[in-house]
C-alpha cells in the first residue's frame, strides 16, 4: 500500500525575521520542496500616490524618502530628475555633482545593509557588525550635510537644500581609502567563506532572458550576466563624466545568475561607487546650490517618465500634469516591487532554507513594495 501524501501550506511571515519587513510568503510544500510561493504584500500600504495628488510638487519630496527608506537620497534624486524633465529646469553643475556624491554614498550604505543582513540570513552574524560600523560613517556624512541620518529631504527639484559642510570633502576623501580596505576584509570574512558559498552557489539561478521578461533591474539583472545600468545606458545628471565599470555576474563559484553572483555584484558595485565618488570629489566645481530652485512649480500640461538607477534597480516616476500646482497623477516604478514578483519563479524546486537565501538576494525594501 502506497503512503498517502499531501501538499502542505506553510506561512512564512508577516513577522518572519528574514523577510526584511512585513511580507507574508505562502509556501506550498511537497515534503521540503517548494511547489509554489505566493507573496502577500500590502502590510505597509499607505497609498503614497493618492497623497501626492493633494500636495504641491515640492511637498512630495519628504514622502519619497519614506518609500525605500534605505536609499532615501536616491528616491529624492529620481523625483527631482523627473520634475526637472517635466518643467525643463536646468540645474547648476555643482548641484549635479553633490547629487552624484550623495547618491553613490547612499548606494554604498544601502548595499552594506543588504550584505550585512544577508549574512545574518545565512547564519553569519559578524559581517553585519562590520557593515553597520562603516554605514555609520556614511550616515555621519549625511548628518553634517543636512541634519538627518535616514530621511533627508535634501535633494529638491532644482537644487539641494544645503551646500556641503566645509569639512565634508575632507571627511569623504578620508573615508574612501579606509573603506577600500574594509571591502577586502568583508570578502575574506564572508564572500569567500566556504560555508557561505555552499549555501548560496547554484541556488536560485536566474537566466538572463527570464530576468528581462520579468522586468528585473539593478544588481539582480546584472548578476545574470546582462550589462544594463541606467547610469551608463541612459545617462542622467553628470554620470557620463565619470569613468567606472558595470560589474556583472560571472559564475565564479557556481552558475551565472545564482544567489552568490547576486550577492557578489553588490560587493563589486561598492568599489565602483568609490571610484565615482573619488572623481566627483576632485572635479566638483564651485557655485550656488539654490539658484535654480523655483519659487513655485507649475509645469505645462503633459506627461513625463524620469528614471534613475537606484541601489535596487530602475526607479522611475511617471508624472502626469494637468497644468496645476499639484500633480494629476504620480506613478512610481519601484524596483523592489518588480524584483519581488519573480520570487515564485526562482524558488520552485528548491528547499525551504533556500527561500531565505533567494529572498535575501532580491534585497527588497517593503516600504517601497507597498508604497
Amino acid at each position: 500500500m502506497a503512503l498517502k501524501t499531501e501538499e502542505m501550506v506553510l506561512n512564512m511571515g508577516p513577522q518572519h525575521p528574514s523577510t526584511h519587513g512585513v511580507l507574508r510568503l505562502e509556501l506550498i510544500l511537497e515534503g521540503e520542496i517548494i511547489q509554489k510561493v505566493t507573496p502577500h504584500i500590502g502590510y505597509l500600504h499607505r497609498c503614497f500616490e493618492k497623497h501626492t495628488e493633494a500636495m504641491t510638487y515640492p511637498q512630495v519630496v519628504p514622502y519619497t524618502d519614506r518609500m525605500d527608506y534605505l536609499s532615501s537620497m536616491y528616491n529624492e534624486f529620481g523625483y527631482a530628475v523627473a520634475v526637472e524633465k517635466l518643467c525643463g529646469i536646468e540645474v547648476p553643475e555643482r548641484v549635479e555633482y553633490i547629487r552624484v556624491i550623495m547618491g553613490e554614498f547612499q548606494r554604498i550604505a544601502s548595499h552594506l545593509v543588504a550584505i550585512g543582513t544577508y549574512g545574518i540570513d545565512i547564519g553569519a552574524f559578524t559581517p553585519f557588525l562590520y557593515c553597520f560600523r562603516d554605514r555609520e560613517t556614511i550616515l555621519n556624512l549625511f548628518e553634517i550635510t543636512c541634519g538627518a541620518r535616514l530621511m533627508y529631504n535634501y535633494i529638491w527639484p532644482g537644487g539641494v537644500s544645503h551646500d556641503l559642510h566645509p569639512d565634508f570633502i575632507r571627511l569623504a576623501k578620508e573615508f574612501i581609502p579606509y573603506f577600500r580596505k574594509t571591502i577586502d576584509e568583508l570578502n575574506n570574512l564572508l564572500s569567500y567563506n566556504k560555508i557561505f558559498i555552499e549555501r548560496t552557489a547554484n541556488v536560485g539561478i536566474l537566466p538572463k532572458e527570464t530576468a528581462i521578461n520579468f522586468g528585473i533591474t539593478g544588481p539582480m539583472l546584472r548578476a545574470s550576466g546582462f550589462k544594463w545600468d541606467i547610469r551608463k545606458d541612459d545617462p542622467y545628471s553628470v554620470y557620463n563624466k565619470f569613468d567606472f565599470n558595470i560589474p556583472v555576474g560571472q559564475g565564479l563559484v557556481g552558475t551565472v545568475g545564482d544567489s552568490w553572483d547576486r550577492y557578489y555584484v553588490r560587493v563589486l558595485e561598492m568599489e565602483e561607487s568609490c571610484k565615482i565618488i573619488e572623481q566627483a570629489l576632485e572635479q566638483i566645481p564651485e557655485g550656488d546650490v539654490s539658484s535654480a530652485i523655483p519659487k513655485r512649480i507649475k509645469p505645462p500640461v503633459g506627461q513625463v517618465y524620469g528614471r534613475v538607477e537606484n541601489p535596487r534597480g530602475e526607479l522611475g516616476y511617471f508624472i502626469i500634469s494637468n497644468g496645476g500646482t499639484s500633480p494629476f497623477r504620480i506613478k512610481v516604478r519601484g524596483p523592489s516591487f518588480v524584483n519581488l514578483s519573480i520570487i515564485d519563479e526562482l524558488c520552485r524546486g528548491y528547499m525551504i532554507a533556500d527561500v531565505i537565501t533567494i529572498l535575501g538576494t532580491t534585497d527588497i525594501v517593503l516600504g517601497e513594495v507597498d508604497r
Binding site: H45, G88, I212, N213, F318, R329, K331
Partner: protein
C-alpha cells in the same frame, strides 16, 4: 534605434483599426493611442518584430482621466460619470535602445483591457495593482486579485478621482 514616428507608422500599417493616434507633445513624452481590446496583439507584434524587439515592459500604470461629467455632492465629495480610465504602457528595447509609450483608454462604466501577461510576465503584478487601485479589469489575466489593499476591501478604488474615504472599515470607525 527608431523614433516614435517610425514605430507609429509600423504598427499603424499592421493594425490600421486598432492603432489610433500619435499624440506628440515634445519635449515631453509622446504616446500612441491604441485600442484596449487589441493591445495584446499589438504588444506581441512590438515584442517579436525584428526591427522593434520591445523585450521589456518598464511600467504599466492605471490612470483615472477624470474627463467625464463631474458633479459636486452635498458631503463635499464628487461623482464622475462617463469619460475614460486609461492604461499606460512604457516599453523599452534593451537591445535596440528605443522606447515607446502606449495608452489604452477604456470607458469608465465598463473598464476592460486585455491583459499583456503573456507578453511580459512582469505585467502580472502591475495589472493587479491597476485593478486594485483604479478598478480596471484585465481580461484573460491568470490571477486578478487585489494586491496592495486587504482582500476584503469594499470601499472602492482609491486612485479614482471620485473616491471617498469609508466611514467604517470592518465595523471600526475610521478616524480623521
Amino acid at each position: 534605434m527608431k523614433t516614435v514616428e517610425e514605430i507609429f507608422e509600423l504598427i499603424k500599417n499592421k493594425f490600421p483599426e486598432a492603432v489610433f493616434n500619435l499624440i506628440n507633445t515634445q519635449p515631453l513624452d509622446s504616446y500612441i493611442e491604441v485600442s484596449p481590446l487589441e493591445v495584446d496583439k499589438i504588444t506581441f507584434f512590438l515584442r517579436d518584430t525584428e526591427e522593434l524587439l520591445f523585450d521589456s515592459l518598464v511600467l504599466l500604470s492605471g490612470v483615472d482621466d477624470a474627463n467625464g461629467e463631474t458633479k459636486k455632492d452635498e458631503d463635499g465629495g464628487i461623482t464622475i460619470t462617463g469619460g475614460t480610465l486609461s492604461v499606460y504602457y512604457h516599453l523599452e528595447s534593451t537591445s535596440l535602445r528605443h522606447k515607446v509609450v502606449l495608452k489604452a483608454s477604456t470607458p469608465r462604466e465598463k473598464p476592460e483591457v486585455v491583459s499583456v501577461t503573456e507578453v511580459w510576465r512582469c505585467a502580472d503584478w502591475h495589472e493587479r495593482e491597476a485593478f486594485d487601485m483604479v478598478g480596471i479589469v484585465f481580461l484573460n489575466h491568470p490571477d486578478l486579485r487585489r494586491i496592495l489593499l486587504p482582500y476584503d476591501w469594499t470601499a472602492g478604488y482609491p486612485l479614482r478621482k471620485d473616491y471617498r474615504n469609508p466611514e467604517f472599515y470592518n465595523g471600526m470607525k475610521v478616524p480623521y
